[in-house]
Amino acid sequence: DVKVTQSSRYLVKRTGEKVFLECVQDMDHENMFWYRQDPGLGLRLIYFSYDVKMKEKGDIPEGYSVSREKKERFSLILESASTNQTSMYLCASSSAWTGARTGELFFGEGSRLTVL
């Protein structure tokens, strides 16, 4: 089974702190994604990566950055956390969308971040 592991399930940080959210997948997937989920807004794509050291902005990249130094690991960084970044953050991975591959996303358990 695909396993996507997020390092922290719950975090509480203060405004202005730097926050790292780590995500590791064990299925050799090429693609990795960071979403945030907020009530009434569904899932919104923050950043994604199709390969090591590559990154693409999603729909709401402002205030975030990412790092993908190894294929299995994709980190989301909040350089200076703000209260409006309080949210549930979901990491996902998928195989490349080629041939018979479905492009289906596999999600981690989520990291609930509270910024005070």
């Binding site: 899932l43 979901l90 596999f106």
Partner: protein, 113 residues
């Protein structure tokens, strides 16, 4: 810009009844996904629909895709309490750098005894 709309957003139904959740999307795509999310949990993949006319069934849930109408449906047959969850559809689009999914707002389903 790809927009994905689900309706209804909230659905309360009685056990044993049938109902359909609709997912409309705004631009051409031939790949659509349905996910389930239980409260406090992450998203679990239910169905992957890869072509026009695709139909998938699992237990009391059946999903279909009409790419010409840009519409997918998730049909619930004889609902049971265990189906209470939030259901998301997601539509894939291809960009020069690869594929990405855009999600609908989710349909919160409550099945009452």
């Amino acid at each position: 810009e790809l927009k994905v709309e689900q309706n209804p957003l909230f659905l309360s139904m009685q056990e044993g009844k049938n109902y359909t959740i609709y997912c409309n999307y705004s631009t051409t795509s031939d790949r659509l996904y349905w996910y389930r999310q239980d409260p406090g949990k992450s998203l679990e993949s239910l169905f992957v629909l890869l072509s026009n006319g695709a139909v998938k069934q699992e237990g009391r849930l059946m999903a279909s895709l009409d790419t010409k109408a840009r519409l997918s449906t998730l049909h619930i047959t004889a609902a049971v309490h265990d189906l209470s969850a939030t259901y998301f559809c997601a539509v894939a689009r291809w960009e020069t750098s690869g594929s990405r999914l855009t999600f609908g707002e989710g349909t919160q389903l409550t099945v009452n005894p």
